[in-house]
C-alpha cells in the first residue's frame, strides 16, 4: 500500500554550495551561557555520531545526557572501522575537490541520495580532519610530517586519511577524549550499560526516553527538550555480519513504532571482503579491510568445481574476474559490484577450494613487486588477524574471502535538519538514511558520523530549541508512565514464554532467510517467501523462546531477545521494501532487473524516490510514503566502472 503524505525535506533554497552557510544564517541560535544550560538534550549512542554530538553540545554549554550499551563510551562500534575516512582536502594535488567528493558519493550511492545532504557532507569533510588532528588523533604521516592518504574503492583520487588499520578506533578515541573532558566539566552526564527501550512523546514531540539499566535491570525515565538517536547500524538482522554482537535496531525501531517513518530498509551493504562463513557455530564474520584491494588481486579458478589448492593452479587457469570485467577500476570497483561479482562466480561453481562460498584475494604479485616488508607494513595486522581465524598464512597462501553484511544505508527518515517525522527527534550517523543512497562508498561512514556529530547535530538541534517554545516536561508526566508500562509489558511477555528454543537459534533462522532471500540478489518470489517465513518465525519466537534468569539482573540473553523481537519485524519490512522496489540500484539487486551482461538496471522514471514506511501495528501491513529525489546539479547516468 502506498499513499502520498507530504514529506518535506526542508532543503534550503539557493545554490547547492551555499545552502548550508545560508541555512546557518537563517536559523535561530541560542545565546551562550545560562540560556543553553536550561536545555536538556538526550543523545543515545556514543559512536562517532552520538559521542561527537554529545561532546560538542556539551562544549557549547547544553545539558547533555548520553547513553550507551557498552560499559564505556569508548567501545561503540565505530571503534571497529579499519580502513579510513574521506575528506576533500586535495593534499595530494590529484584533482580532488568538494565538488568531486560530492559527485563520487552521489554516483557511488547510485543516484538514490539527496543532493543537498551529500553536498553538505562533502563540504564538512575537511573540517573533520582538522578537528581530529587538533585532538591528537595520530593519523598516518609522510616523512615530511604531512598527513598521508590512500585510495579506496569507487574513486580515482587519494583522499582517504587513516591510522594504520585502526582508523575508527583512533577517531572514536578522539571523540571519547572530548566526551571525557565534558563529563569532567559537568556538561555531559554519561549512562554506560544502559539501553534505550522506548521513546516518549508529549504533545507529538519527542520529550524523553525509557531506558533499562543493564546492570540492575531497573527501568528508568529520562526527560529532555530534544532526543538524538545515533544508535548505529543493524546488519545483525542477518545474524552473521561484520558488526559487533550488540549492534541493534531497537532504538530506531521503537521510535518507528511511535511514528517515525523508516526509509529505504532494503538498501544494505554486503561488503566484498570478509572472512567466509565456515560453520554454524560462527558468531561473526570478521572484515578484511577494503584497503586490501589496493594491492591484492581477486580471482577464482576458471574450472568449475576445481579442487586443487591455489598454489597448484597455473596462472592461465585463473580468472581475475574483476580486472576482466571492469578494466578501468579493476579490483577497486565499488563494494556492491565486487560483492555481486563474487557471488556470480561462486554460483557458477568457481570458488576457493575450502568453501563453495569463497574467492581468492592474492598478494603474491604485491609481495614480488613491493617486497614482503612493505606488504607487512600496510596490512600486517589484517594478515595476522586472518591467520588467527582461518589458520592459513596469507603471505604464502592467498586469502579466502566472501561478501558479508556490513552496513545499512536505510534508517529513520530525516529532513535536511536530521529531524525525523517526529518533532524534536533527531537521527544521526548510520541510524538515519540520509547520505549514502543505495550504496555507501568506503571511508564515508566515518565521515558522515563525525560530520553529523561535530557539526550538523549541534547546529540543527540548537535552532530547534531556539524556535520550538517548549513547555517544561518532567518524568512524572503521564506519557512517561504509559510508555514505561509498555516496556515492562514487553519484558514480562518475553520472560513468560518459557519455550525451548534459544535466542541464538531463532536469530540464526532469521539470518538464513535474510541472507538467502533478502541478500545480494533478490527476486519477487523469494521476497514473498521471506515475508511469509519471517511472519511464521515471529510466531514461533513468541511461543518457543527460551530464557532464563530474571529481569531484575544483568541478563544478556534477555537483552538479545528484545533486540531479536525488533529484528523479526524489521526483517520483514526490509523484504517488503525490496519487493516494492522494482529496479536494481546499488546494494539492492533484483534479478528481474539487470542488463544482458548482468549489471544493475535502474529505473529512474519510476523509482527515483526515497521510500518512507509508516508503522501501522503489530502484524499489520505498513504504509509507504515517498520523497521524490530531485537532481538539479548532477545528471542521472548509468553507473559505469568498466
Amino acid at each position: 500500500m502506498s499513499t502520498n503524505r507530504k514529506l518535506d525535506a526542508k532543503i534550503p533554497g539557493g545554490p547547492l554550495a551555499l545552502k548550508w552557510e545560508r541555512h546557518k544564517m537563517d536559523n535561530p541560535l541560542v545565546a551562550p551561557g545560562g540560556n543553553r544550560r536550561k536545555f536538556t538534550v538526550i543523545v543515545v549512542g556514543t559512536g562517532l555520531a552520538g559521542g561527537g554530538a554529545a561532546a560538542t553540545m556539551g562544549e557549547l554549554g547544553y545539558n547533555v545526557l548520553n547513553f550507551c550499551i557498552q560499559d564505556t563510551p569508548r567501545r561503540a562500534h565505530s571503534v571497529a572501522a579499519q580502513g579510513g575516512i574521506n575528506a576533500a582536502k586535495d593534499y595530494q594535488n590529484d584533482g580532488d575537490s568538494i565538488e568531486r567528493l560530492f559527485y563520487d558519493t552521489i554516483k557511488g550511492g547510485d543516484y538514490r541520495s539527496r543532493e543537498a545532504n551529500v553536498y553538505r557532507l562533502a563540504e564538512l569533510s575537511t573540517g573533520i580532519i582538522d578537528q581530529c588532528v587538533a585532538m591528537g588523533v595520530p593519523f598516518a604521516r609522510e616523512y615530511g610530517g604531512t598527513l598521508a592518504n590512500r585510495s579506496f574503492g569507487g574513486v580515482q583520487v587519494s583522499r582517504t586519511f587513516y591510522a594504520r588499520g585502526q582508523t575508527g578506533q583512533q577517531l572514536l578515541l578522539g571523540v571519547y577524549s572530548a566526551l571525557s573532558r565534558q563529563v569532567q566539566a559537568g556538561t555531559v552526564k554519561m549512562f554506560p550499560r544502559y539501553e534505550m527501550l522506548d521513546l516518549v512523546l508529549v504533545d507529538g514531540r519527542a520529550r524523553g526516553i525509557i531506558a533499562r539499566d543493564l546492570t540492575t535491570g531497573e527501568i528508568k525515565r529520562y526527560a529532555a527538550d530534544a532526543v538524538v538517536l545515533a544508535t548505529g547500524g543493524y546488519s545483525p538482522v542477518y545474524y552473521l555480519s561484520t558488526n559487533a554482537v550488540n549492534c541493534n535496531a531497537t532504538a530506531i525501531w521503537r521510535a518507528h513504532r511511535r511514528g517515525a517513518l523508516f526509509s529505504n530498509p532494503c538498501y544494505t551493504q554486503i561488503h566484498p571482503t570478509a572472512v567466509p562463513h565456515m560453520g554454524d557455530y560462527q558468531s561473526k564474520l570478521s572484515l578484511m579491510s577494503e584497503s586490501l584491494r589496493n594491492d591484492g588481486r581477486v580471482w577464482v579458478p576458471k574450472k568449475p568445481g576445481e579442487t586443487r589448492r591455489p598454489s597448484d593452479i597455473p596462472e592461465a587457469e585463473r580468472d581475475y574476474y574483476l580486472e576482466r570485467r571492469y578494466p578501468a577500476f579493476g579490483n577497486l570497483v565499488p563494494r556492491d559490484i565486487a560483492a555481486r561479482a563474487a557471488k556470480v562466480e561462486c554460483d557458477a561453481g568457481k570458488h576457493a577450494y575450502m568453501s563453495p562460498y569463497s574467492v581468492y584475494l592474492d598478494f603474491g604479485d604485491a609481495i614480488q613487486r613491493l617486497g614482503r616488508d612493505v606488504v607487512a607494513d600496510r596490512y600486517g595486522n589484517l594478515f595476522s588477524m586472518y591467520e588467527e581465524i582461518i589458520g592459513d598464512n596469507p603471505y604464502q597462501v592467498p586469502m579466502m574471502i566472501y561478501p558479508a553484511p556490513h552496513y545499512t544505508m536505510g534508517g529513520l527518515w530525516v529532513d535536511y535538519n536530521l529531524q525525523a517525522t517526529i518533532e524534536g527527534l533527531f537521527v544521526a550517523g548510520e541510524a538515519n538514511f540520509s547520505d549514502h543512497g543505495a550504496n555507501r562508498l568506503g571511508a564515508s561512514a566515518l565521515m558522515q558520523g563525525l560530520a553529523d556529530g561535530y557539526f550538523v547535530v549541534p547546529r540543527v538541534v540548537a535552532s530547534y530549541l531556539a524556535g520550538a517554545k517548549l513547555q517544561a516536561v518532567k518524568t512524572d508526566h503521564p506519557a512517561f508512565a504509559a510508555v514505561e508500562n509498555d516496556v515492562r509489558g514487553l519484558i514480562g511477555r518475553l520472560l513468560a514464554i518459557k519455550g525451548h528454543r534459544t535466542v541464538r537459534e531463532i536469530h540464526w533462522d532469521l539470518g538464513r532467510i535474510m541472507w538467502d532471500k533478502v541478500g545480494m540478489a533478490r527476486d519477487a518470489a523469494g521476497l514473498k517467501e521471506a515475508i511469509a517465513r519471517i511472519g511464521e518465525l515471529r510466531g514461533q519466537f513468541w511461543h518457543e523462546l527460551a530464557l532464563s534468569g530474571t529481569d531484575a539482573d544483568l541478563n544478556k540473553q534477555l537483552e538479545q531477545a528484545a533486540r531479536l523481537a525488533d529484528y523479526l519485524e524489521l526483517g520483514e519490512l526490509m523484504a517488503r521494501d525490496a519487493l516494492m522496489r522494482e529496479e536494481s540500484c546499488g546494494g539492492h539487486f533484483r534479478n528481474e532487473h539487470q542488463t544482458p551482461d548482468g549489471e544493475a538496471k535502474r529505473d529512474d522514471a519510476n523509482f527515483c524516490f526515497v521510500s518512507a514506511w509508516e508503522y501501522t501495528g503489530e502484524n499489520r501491513e505498513p504504509v509507504m510514503h515517498r520523497e521524490h529525489l530531485a537532481f538539479e546539479n548532477v545528471e542521472l547516468k548509468t553507473r559505469s566502472y568498466k
Binding site: 560499559d71 587538533a134 598516518a140 588477524m385
Partner: protein, 253 residues
C-alpha cells in the same frame, strides 16, 4: 578428537550480582570445533544452560575481533589466555586439547569490582581519562590539518600506544593491580604530539592522582602487564610517564 569435535571441561567463576564472592562451577561442553572461538564455545555452553532452565554465564563481548576491548577473561590463569598479543575474543579452540580442563575467571582487581560472574566494572578507567586524557580543543577551533607538521617517527610512536583498547588486562595481570601501563599509554601518546604537548604536565599529575585515588597499586616493574597486553604496549611508557609526572611536578605545566 572424534568427528564430533572436542570435549572441554570448564571451571567457571560464578558470582551473583551484589554478592561479595563466588565459586568455581564445573561444566562440560561437547562437539567443540577447533576453528571456534573461545567465546563461541561459551555461547554454546550458555545455550545448553538456558535450555536446562539454568542461568547463563554472564561475560562481556562486543566486536569479537580484538578491537573494542569489551571482552576480558582470565583463561588458564592468564589474562586473555595463553596466546600473546590476542584478546579473549580472538582465542581459538584449536589451541586447546580434547578433554582438557580450562579455568575461566574474571579480570580480578580491587578497582574492578565483579558485577556478575565474569563481568567486571572498569569505569575507574573512564574516571582517570576524565582527569586529563584529552587535548582541550573545542570543535570549531582547529587550524588546517597540515598546519603543524608531525614527524613520522613521533606519529608512529604515538600510534603504537594509542592502539590501547582499554581492556584492563594489564591491571588483572599485575600483582599490585597497577594501572600504570594503561595510564602511561595515554600520557605518552599525547605528550609525543605537538597538539597534546601543551597540557602535558597538568595531564600527568591529574591522571596519576586519579589512578591512585581509584585504588590501583604502584608499579614495581614486574612486567606482567606488557606480557598480556593484546596490543603489545611497551613498559617503556611507564618510565616516560614517570618523567612526565616529574616534569609536571617541577615545572607546573
Amino acid at each position: 578428537m572424534s568427528d564430533k569435535g572436542m570435549t572441554i571441561h570448564l571451571k567457571i567463576w560464578r558470582q551473583a550480582r551484589g554478592a561479595k564472592t563466588g565459586k568455581f562451577v564445573d561444566y562440560t561442553v561437547q562437539n567443540i570445533q577447533p576453528a571456534m572461538s573461545f567465546l563461541e564455545m561459551l555461547d554454546i555452553l550458555n545455550e545448553d544452560l538456558v535450555k536446562k532452565g539454568e542461568e547463563a554465564v554472564e561475560f562481556d563481548s562486543d566486536c569479537r575481533e580484538g578491537i573494542c576491548g569489551t571482552c576480558g577473561l582470565v583463561i588458564k590463569g592468564t589474562a586473555h589466555g595463553p596466546h600473546a598479543a590476542t584478546t579473549t575474543c580472538e582465542v581459538r579452540m584449536r589451541g586447546f586439547k580434547d578433554g582438557e580442563t580450562i579455568t575461566v575467571e574474571p579480570f580480578r582487581a580491587g578497582p574492578f569490582p565483579v558485577i556478575k560472574d565474569l563481568v567486571v566494572d572498569r569505569t575507574a578507567f573512564d574516571r582517570i581519562q576524565q582527569q586529563g586524557g584529552y587535548v582541550s580543543a573545542n570543535v570549531g577551533s582547529a587550524p588546517d590539518g597540515n598546519a603543524v607538521p608531525v614527524s613520522k617517527y613521533y606519529a608512529d610512536k604515538a600510534m603504537d600506544v594509542a592502539s590501547c583498547i582499554g581492556c584492563g588486562a594489564c591491571v588483572a595481570a599485575c600483582p599490585n593491580a597497577s594501572a600504570s601501563l594503561f595510564v602511561s599509554a595515554k600520557i605518552s601518546q599525547l605528550s609525543r604530539l605537538p597538539q597534546g604537548g601543551l597540557e602535558r604536565g597538568r595531564r600527568a599529575l591529574a591522571m596519576v592522582a586519579q589512578m591512585d585515588q581509584e585504588g590501583f597499586g604502584d608499579c614495581s616493574n614486574h612486567g606482567e602487564c606488557e606480557a598480556v597486553c593484546p596490543k603489545e604496549i611497551s613498559i617503556e611508557n611507564i618510565a616516560l610517564m614517570r618523567r612526565e609526572y616529574m616534569r609536571g611536578a617541577l615545572k607546573g605545566d
